[in-house]
Symmetry: D2
Subunit: 342 residues, 4 copies
């Protein structure tokens, strides 16, 4: 019997992607999709390849009909909806920032607003390859941000093994496709602004994803405050590439640590020496790919993923699968079942 799912905020890029994944998921059945701005239309009217499922305003969504909801809402709107669902025994996969930061004060510091539902915190952080114990059978999971996933996959194994030289900066030079900025129309994401341009923004220590990245790394033993994070906007629709520079006295051990961390993972791949990760490796796939280049006491890790999939929707499906005791990659990797047709 299918698990009934609803998506709040289905008309954004992540919601559209998630709706397509869930529509094709063998064990999920969509029972509602919400959108305030496009209510009354079907999702397919917004995006031809999406399911022809009607969008309703959230006030009309039959929350109680769902076993599990996915929240693709702006921060501050997401946590209250999560609280409402959890109070009714409905499980929650949150894709906003609301439930990622354990400490409400830290949330307030980065998001410049009081946390809307501090009683829910802390919530398991849904980056399965860095720890899936808390995700199995969880009632609520906070799905990481796209930049955070790309960065943490490259750094966490190194931090855990103590392989980054103390008191040295960690530099993450990150580049993201435009869908990372959302589907709400703004001048700076218009085609004629982005084509032919490439631009840094919020560089240094001002991008909000630093909060969740450092929370994870500090739990793994990193000293606070050493992360430099420089995002840039790429003239392409999808994909994140983070070029990560760490100083290490043990470059061989560092590379081995990354290789071992993901040796048994089907959705994270470490390329062999001499190859470099590119967006082409991951766009439109649920995978992250890493490559490593060691030189002069610096390890350069290139980490790539599709911001809408491993950086959002497909990672949410991994979390959904873990939450419900399903195989983690169900609905993400085609299983080639020979058809009984001959």
């Amino acid at each position: 019997m299918a698990i009934k799912v609803g998506i709040y905020g289905a008309a954004g890029y992540t919601g559209i992607e998630l709706a397509q994944l869930l529509a094709a998921h063998p064990e999920a059945e969509i029972c509602f999709l919400t959108s305030e701005s496009s209510a009354g239309k079907t999702l397919q009217e917004l995006w031809p390849l999406a399911p022809a499922f009607p969008l309703s305003p959230s006030i009309d969504a039959p929350l109680e009909a769902a076993d599990c909801i996915f929240l693709c809402l702006p921060h501050t709107q997401s946590a209250p909806r999560a609280a409402q669902a959890l109070a009714q025994g409905i499980r929650v996969i949150d894709l906003s920032a609301d439930l990622r930061i354990d400490d409400p004060a830290e949330y307030a510091r980065w998001y410049k607003v009081a946390h809307p539902a501090p009683e829910l915190l802390p919530v398991p952080y849904g980056l399965p390859e860095l720890g899936r114990d808390l995700l199995v059978d969880a009632s609520v999971i906070a799905t990481p941000g796209c930049y955070a996933t790309a960065t943490l996959l490259g750094l966490a194994p190194l931090v855990r093994e103590g392989l980054i030289a103390p008191h040295t900066p960690i530099i993450v030079d990150a580049k993201s496709g435009v869908t990372g900025a959302g589907r709400t129309p703004k001048v700076n994401t218009l085609f004629a602004e982005v084509q032919g341009d490439f631009s840094p923004y919020n560089i240094g220590r001002s991008h909000r994803h630093i909060a969740e990245i450092e929370q994870v790394l500090e739990a793994d033993g990193l000293a606070p405050g050493g992360l430099i994070f420089s995002p840039h906007l790429l003239p392409t629709d999808r994909g994140i590439l983070a070029t990560i520079y760490v100083q290490t006295s043990e470059p061989e051990a560092a590379q081995a640590a990354l290789r071992e961390a993901y040796a048994d993972e089907s959705l994270v791949e470490v390329l062999p020496p001499g190859q470099l990760a590119t967006l082409r490796h991951v766009v439109r796939t649920p995978k992250a790919v890493l490559s490593m280049t060691a030189v002069n006491g610096i390890l350069i890790v290139v980490s790539v993923l599709d911001n809408l999939l491993k950086g959002a929707a497909s990672q949410a499906v991994q979390n959904f699968n873990l939450m419900w005791g399903l195989p983690e990659t169900m609905g993400l990797i085609p299983t080639q079942v020979p058809q009984e047709t001959l």
Copy 2:
């Protein structure tokens, strides 16, 4: 002594382009730029290569300080401002649709709104290569639309010479870059919507530029109603390419008519046989380029121009030059004056 000019609506793509042209124009001096949404900023803050001239709300613009204003406003907003300026003896170059249609009823039919200033009509139509007599010393000029310019340059000489077979359809399959849709944020002009897509819109007989195209061609003798106009949105920022199909029993005469029509023009070029016009010929230039291919009683005219320049801002400057008795291409074609520096 410089001619003092103001631009209403300077923060759109056409306004930005026009401000750059006027800032470099030897005889013009900008005295104000208006923008409601970006008032308080300089134009350079919106577009790094534009002049660092402040934007003011139109209510604060010193209209009376100007000798001539350029209107890059939405239709219905433009004509009242034109009327106000003309009443004060200030000349007007309008880039909106408001003053292009001679008959207010026709305007109302296409634009679904009563004409805001019918007493101004008719106004000289500023496509100099099709007739510049009325433009010299004019007090007000209506600058044509981008699709209209591309289409009329290809068709008018044929219609004038009676070279299109009667009772046959004229098919204009047009493709435009995204800046043609303006700088106001909308979902359908976001980068992630446009990249990788190509889409027709308003095809058949529903695009508003049909009104001004047919007005010109009917004055030149075309029977009404035969134009099929199919615009498409291209995944590029600038440029229009119109592929025009007409039936003719005199393909040689038709080609000769086009060639002769522009033989003495410096901003419209007809390519020699065997060459085809492409966006590359015209993007970021004030020129239109035409090519011709005759086959089976059909003449295929490809007409290209930069929608922001010959389709808007540089054509407005041509009109400005004619209006003020200046050389028509002043400020548009670099004059190579040897510097006295050796």
Copy 3:
């Protein structure tokens, strides 16, 4: 037991796409992939998402191990290979132009070279939605060109029903993504040439796909020589959009004919009135989508498909499935088989 397949010319864009489809096909098993220029590498080294299957020079390919070969070779190279395979009882899906034209003289006229294996002609033309009888159990199938598929899907039902006004031109204004020009490096398909440009080529009656389009339409009753075909190169990687203009005295009947022709097809969709087909409907899918706009005695059919899929590789898989008695869409439309995992 799987059908063993080999691909000649696997390192081009069509070959890469086809290899991905066949690697995931439930009843196919790749036994070789050939490439002269990339022999010794795996296909994945050329394209990260392609299977890690080695490429061999064609001389080393174990032809006799295959049950069926796919030919993604240039014209003139394909037919001799087809003849060799057929002589050994190996079936052939040809994606080149070699086997599409029934009459070798016509082939010679369009391709400026003698037909390399006229004894193979005629060969069933593999556009299943226009006729699949000859494809079932065929030993060899000629898969149509990408432009031809888009054009024929829009025109053939109209021609069959006699709904196009006699002695009127049929105008096909077609636009293709760059992969249609192949993966062999040429200046005109470099990124820096294509971005920002849009260009017609071979317009009128000179593009070679006219031969196969007219062959099909003339068999359906069209008078010869009336097709005007104008291809343009789009600044995008994949997708074809053909805007087709036909004159008809029965626009309602024409729309009904198209609608009925594809009513039972799962891979060709006719959009409801008011919607227009765009590349977004089809890119990365095996489907073609049509829309219709009737105005002034003209029917405008917009026909879209992915040039590498319905225009090449997925259509080849449809043909493969028909040839081998498999469900026609096997390997193309995900069948959601619930996994036995709960």
Copy 4:
């Protein structure tokens, strides 16, 4: 009397750009353009906006008719041609790598080939904003590489003032548009490979521009070997953006040093605090733009330029002007000479 100039290798992207600049330069007169692959055509046939000047094979070029030649040839081909010209008293602006490295052994180490004309070395390095004394009246100038210019403009003033913390790595994460890879067709610069991708290459310490960058910085006092240089290929045609990370104990002094270094320069601009440099600032201009962000003992300098202009052709024109005693920006910045027309 005009200075007669010839360009060897005029059919590449740099050559095309340079020919356009020189055709419009008030004191230069093109006397030949060479291309082996396109000889017999005009440059305009390759690029519609370029001058309609014929291309000849280099063997037919009237070298002796030139006062000055520009070499846009591959390395190893350039130096011999320079030697030939200099022997005849003809001055040389080299845009290849051949004359940039003072030490032939170092050249051989990076370029894996013996230097073709070591007797010419050393040659003045033509980055005027870092030192123009040796360029004035020079007979030969080596124009820097595009990555080198962007990197050196950001780093040299800091090194000169001793403001980078000793024994700390300097990390340059650089991103370049595709024209940086040249106009010779290769698979990896095809449109369909680049669109939608973003890819690192030669990261760490393997890119050849490191040689000239370190040569300059070591002359300014930098300890050897600390530069990490990671280039990436951007899906756009033009522009380089280098995000440069240096550790400094004096971030205020560092920012002041950069600001002062370029305070009097018309072609290098340092943005005010709070603004970030983007490609939009520089593409299709002869300028470089820098921005600075200080955080946690790290100074992040973003340096942008157009790789074909300040990174190649317009910098070559600066050098030409200095060499011939002309105003350095002649032909690069429009001088608004009021026309005597009213």
